[in-house]
Every structure is written in structure tokens, then in C-alpha cells.
Symmetry: C2
Subunit: 389 residues, 2 copies
């Protein structure tokens, strides 16, 4: 991607956060995607935290999951209600210590949080792409991230870290650009979706497509498929939790009442919570982006793309030090899938640490406060830095 | 319910199957429901198999799950594509042997397979009830079944058997009418839904209600909320399977293609299967019935209804012999829930057998061929019959 024309816009800078976007274009007609489509110019919204050291060896790329964005930590405005999505882990003195590391997080290709995606204007028409947006893969997302990382003058990342779909990007980085990745931390992720994970994603996609407002994806400028997207989010949200966490968080407690309503109100707290999660999501996310990103996740198959069907052959291309983390109650990407990954990494003679963290919070556990995970990441990054310096 | 006026219609009888319906009405204005509503007259569609012995001691009531019907076994017409929903278990020489037992199965109250439900005509208007149908509970379903059983001249059931929501009816029978239940076989069920099970049901209901064709439940005579109902069914269907069964059944195999389509076609077999399950379901089921029955299941709480919050106190009212069966891969009603039930039954000094069957098929396992389950049921029914005769 060295021939790409690069544009960089400096955005607002509040406190820690440097909010920017980066646009690149490849002549003659854009980036050739793995699915065969072409896309260009491509914009990636990104943020950076901390300072890059003079020899450029302290850069950490954090990859976000399905609905995340570039805003991984801190506040943009002093009155922001919430900090970035992984503020518990990224910041001064935290697990990924911005006093020591230069942290980059970019919104993935296909998303709707500042990077090019189906809601972006199609240069050919000036209108949003909608269903004309080409299918993108995790590989395409990572190729775009690489252009950004090179644009920032970084030749090798100290670490690439991410959970869930972010973890897929981590794995893709480690195999596709081994010379650029000193260490890799895939959290709560998998080298490929199980049939169960695909099934839940497919039901969520069907919920969106069943909404008449979806209009085959050409809804921009009209009513949005909010009902379908809300149901899709609810499905996803339930799969991110666990039986145990929901029992503790909600059980069968009733919402603002002492007895059943005997109608279709949200009697149970868990019903009210699920409805709220759906409602809240439609305000910030685009339905088409949900379709494209979940499809990319379903297509992701590290062994198929890089090892002729074998994960071991795929990982034989990697050179990074790995820290693989799974969570006991994650039934979307269960520990056995991480263990398969670890066995393949070991067969390749790679330096790999594995930890299964005892957590009741299901797949979401990687986003929740965990002293164990914080210490693991802190220690791992320190050791990697010592070894490469 | 002895004051009810009874009407019985003899239906077609092909081979084994006696297809009938039974209508009863309680003066002055119907059955008083647990949720406070009134309903009457009430029709229950039912089928019987085998013959009732002269002393009426060989009757077995089979209770169906969410989308089942009275047609539990055999064929109505010789060219029927499929036999009844539990034909593998019910029939001559089978686990529930119709040469030995008189088997009754009735469509539950609130359903749409011949019994009174939201799609039935409201006597007050002559039009389908729709959302004016009162909320019914598992208790109400069982009270209606009791009227049917009494109408058939049976004073005591040799056994009440059912899985999932059918299992809830079994538990309700055992506690509400202990004098009428010699034995009870709750399969793959629970004394109350977990927050996880409620959450999945609620997302499914939201999918139906999000369909503009639902029209607040008043869609009869117009387009039906097929899209919403299909999504609801797909959600349910995924929860009935297991990670393991889906890996074996589908894995990541592609459907009629060798490479990814890189569009939103059903690339994976599991996607195609899930879409098919949704499509197929809307032809045979009513969306409002889905809402009412899932809500009844969510409300079901044996300890709350019959034991002031304690399952043990609830079961202290029971007198039946119990056979409790769970399945290893059922994550909707996991084994720990059956074990809680068994502990409570034992604390009450009841005769209880428990078996956790090793099965990879998830919650659906109770409906699939299992020599183990067949032998268990056969042996249990024989022993109970010997003991009471």
C-alpha cells in the first residue's frame, strides 16, 4: 500500500485523546478486496494515546470488536457520560499503560464510526453505498490498519491486542504481517466461528433484513430499520452474557412491580434490560454495518485463508510472542477453541502463554474489570519490551 | 370443573389415531384464569391411542412443548409426510406402549392447533381474539387438561409425561392434582425459567412485535407477521441445539458452493438450515400463540405458585413417583436445574429416579431417538403399573 495517497486530518485533542482520521487511496481504482470488490479512497478514523518513542518501538495497536470504535479510552469532552470502550484497561498506569506505550485504535473498515463503511458516500454516486458496499473481510480490515500504522511511521508494533472480532484481527495481523508484530494478544476469540456462532449471527442478520424499513439496504435518507437492528442487538447481547451472570444480575426479579402484569409488559428485569440494550444500540449503530461486520466474522477462518485449511500451517508464518486468554463462561468462543489455537502455536515452536480466566460474565468478560487480566497484560507487555530492546 | 357443559366431537380415526376435540364451558362466564381473565367456552383438541382398560388405570397423558399439537404419534392419512411429533416414543411396543397404555395428548390452551387460543373466535365479537385473548398460565393449561381427563372418565393417570414446556405441565399436574397423578416424568425441563431462558423468549417476542404486520396482534384477515415469527423461531431453534450438535451437523460446511459468495447469501449450511426452519414454521404456527405460550413458560414458577417461593414446599403436596431426565448438552434447561428439582423431591420423601442422559443434541435431545430414554420410560411405566395394581 506504499503507493497510496495519504491524507491526515488532526481532530480535537482533549486530555489524553488524539482523535484523527486518515484517508488513503490506491490508484487506479482503490483497494482490491479479498472478496473481489474494489474500494477507494478508504478512510480510517483513529485515535492515539501516549507518545511514540524515538525508535518507534513502543506502539500498541488495540483492535475493537463488532460495535466498537476508535475511542478506546478517556473522554473527548469533559461532560461525556462515558469514557472510551476499554478505559478500564487503557490509560496512565493501567494494563496498557499510556505512560509507557503509544496506543493506537482505529475504527474498522465496514463500520460506521468514522471509517469507510456502507453508510459512507459512494464516490461513484455521492450517495451512501448501502448494499453496493463490497463485502469486506477481517483480512481487508487488517490491510487497511497496516496502511495506517505505516502512515504513522511505525515499522513494527510492540503488540496487537483485541478481543472477540478484535481478536480475529490480532490473529490475522500475526500471520499476514509477521515482521510487523512483536507480540499478539488474542482475547476471548477464535480462529474461526463455530456453527453456533454463525447461526446466531445469521438470525441477527435475518432480523435486520426482515424489517421492511431495511429496503434491501437502501434506507438512508428514509426511516431506518431500527426495529430489526434492535432485535439483532438483543440476540447478540444475550450471547455475550452467561447463564450464571444473568442469574446473578437479574435472576427472576421483577421490574418495578410486585406481581406479574399478566400482559406483555416487561415483567422481569431481564426483559427490561434486553429491550433497553436494543433501543440504545440503534441510536449509535448502522444496520448495514452490523450485517457487513458479522459476515466478515463468519467468513474469518485463519486456517483456510493462510494455511490451506490448517491452523498450524497458518501459524507457521507467525513470529510473534503470544498471550492467549479465554474466559470460563464464554460460550460463544469457548476455551476449547483457544486451546486448539494454543496447541497449533506450540506446534510451530512459538513463545505462547495461555490463561483461562475464571469469570462468570460470559463473552463480555474481556471488557469488564479484571485485576487478573490487567496484571497479565501489564506483565506480558513489559516482558516483550525487555526482550526486544 | 364438574359443572362445565361438555361437548365431544368424534373426529377422523385412521389407523391408531383417534382425533377428537372437547369443548367445555363454565357458567356464568367461563373459566377464571390465574391472571384474572375469564375464558369460555374452552375447546381442547385431543387424540387418544390404545384402549382404556376397564378399571381405568392405564391412562398416560403426554404433554407437548411450545409448538406441538395433539398429534403425538402415527399418521392421520396414509400419505402424510410425517407422523406425530413423538412417534419414536409412542406406539405399539414403543417406550410408551399403546398396546399397554391408553395415551392421551391434547393441544394446550393458548395454542393454535385446534384448542382455544388467540386465533380462535372471541364469542363476544365473532372475530379472532388477537390481543384480547387473556394471558394464560401453565396452571390454566393443566386445569383445562384436567377437565378433559375427567370427561374421559379417568380418575387417576398412570403417568403424566412431557418435555420442555410439556415438562412444566407435568410438574404442575403433580402438585396441583396429586390425587390424580400416580407418576410423573418431567423431561428436559425446569421448575422455573432462568434469566437466560426468559431473555431468549423475550428477544423472540420482540422479533414478532417488531414486525409491522403484527399490528398489535390484530393481524387476522390481513398479512401475517411471518417475518417476525420466522426470526422468533430461528432464535428458539438455535437455543434447542448445542455447540457440539451443530459442529457435527453443519460445522463450517458450505451450501451448494465451493467458495464464499462474498454477499449475503446463505453460504454456510447452518445459515440455510436456520432460514429453512424459520420459513417452515410460519406455515403452521400462529404468532400470537407463540407470544402467549412463551409468556406462560416465563411466568411458570412452581415454587412461587405452590410453595410460597419454595420448590420443596411445592413438592410436599405431590404424591407421585417421579422419573426426572435431563440431557448433558441442554443449555436451556441445564442438568443443575433438574438436580435442584430432584433434591427438593427427595427432601419431601418422594420416590424419585433421576437420569442425566449423555446426548450431544442439546435441548432437542428429548425428541430424538434415544434407546436409553426409551428403555427408561418403558421400565418406569411397568414398575409404576405393577406397584399401583
Amino acid at each position: 500500500m506504499s503507493e497510496y495517497i495519504e491524507h491526515d486530518r488532526q481532530g480535537v485533542s482533549v486530555g489524553l485523546v488524539e482523535e484523527r482520521s486518515f484517508t488513503f487511496a490506491a490508484p487506479p481504482d482503490g483497494m482490491l478486496l479479498e472478496g473481489g470488490g474494489r474500494l477507494g479512497p478508504v478512510t480510517l478514523a483513529y485515535e492515539t494515546y501516549g507518545e511514540l518513542n524515538t525508535d518507534g518501538t513502543n506502539a500498541v495497536l488495540v483492535c475493537h470488536a463488532l460495535s466498537g470504535d476508535a475511542h478506546v479510552a478517556g473522554y473527548h469532552q469533559e461532560d461525556d457520560e462515558k469514557p472510551g470502550w476499554w478505559d478500564i484497561m487503557v490509560g496512565p498506569g493501567k494494563g496498557i499503560d499510556t505512560d509507557r506505550y503509544f496506543v493506537i485504535c482505529s475504527n474498522i473498515l465496514g463500520s460506521c464510526m468514522g471509517s469507510t463503511g456502507p453508510s459512507s458516500p459512494n464516490p461513484a454516486t455521492g450517495k451512501p453505498f448501502g448494499p453496493d458496499f463490497p463485502v469486506v473481510t477481517i483480512g481487508d480490515m487488517v490491510r487497511a490498519q497496516k496502511a495506517l500504522v505505516e502512515h504513522l511511521g511505525i515499522r513494527r508494533l510492540l503488540s496487537v491486542i483485541g478481543g472477540s472480532i478484535g481478536g480475529m484481527q490480532v490473529l490475522e495481523w500475526s500471520v499476514r504481517y509477521p515482521e510487523m508484530v512483536a507480540s499478539a494478544v488474542p482475547l476471548a476469540t477464535t480462529t474461526r466461528h463455530s456453527a453456533l456462532a454463525i447461526a446466531f449471527n445469521e438470525v441477527a442478520r435475518q432480523a435486520i433484513m426482515a424489517d421492511p424499513a431495511w429496503q434491501g439496504g437502501r434506507y438512508y435518507g428514509g426511516p431506518r430499520p431500527d426495529h430489526g437492528l434492535a432485535v439483532a442487538r438483543m440476540i447478540g447481547h444475550v450471547t455475550y452474557l452467561s447463564d450464571d451472570s444473568m442469574r446473578h444480575k437479574f435472576g427472576r426479579r421483577l421490574q418495578d412491580r410486585e406481581d406479574f402484569s399478566y400482559n406483555f409488559d416487561a415483567d422481569f428485569q431481564v426483559e427490561s434490560y434486553i429491550r433497553y440494550q436494543g433501543r440504545k444500540f440503534v441510536d449509535r449503530f448502522d444496520a448495514n454495518s452490523f450485517l457487513y461486520i458479522t459476515k466478515a466474522a463468519d467468513y474469518f477462518d485463519l486456517g483456510r485463508s493462510h494455511g490451506g485449511g490448517s491452523i498450524t500451517r497458518a501459524f507457521s508464518k507467525a513470529g510473534a510472542r503470544f498471550l492467549v486468554v479465554s474466559f470460563t463462561s464464554d460460550w460463544l468462543y469457548p476455551t476449547y477453541q483457544s486451546k486448539e489455537m494454543v496447541r497449533a502455536l506450540k506446534r510451530c515452536g512459538l513463545d505462547v502463554s495461555f490463561c483461562e480466566i475464571e469469570a462468570r460474565w460470559g463473552h463480555d468478560a474481556f471488557l469488564l474489570p479484571s485485576p487478573r487480566l490487567t496484571e497479565l497484560l501489564k506483565g506480558f507487555l513489559s516482558r516483550v519490551r525487555q526482550k526486544i530492546e
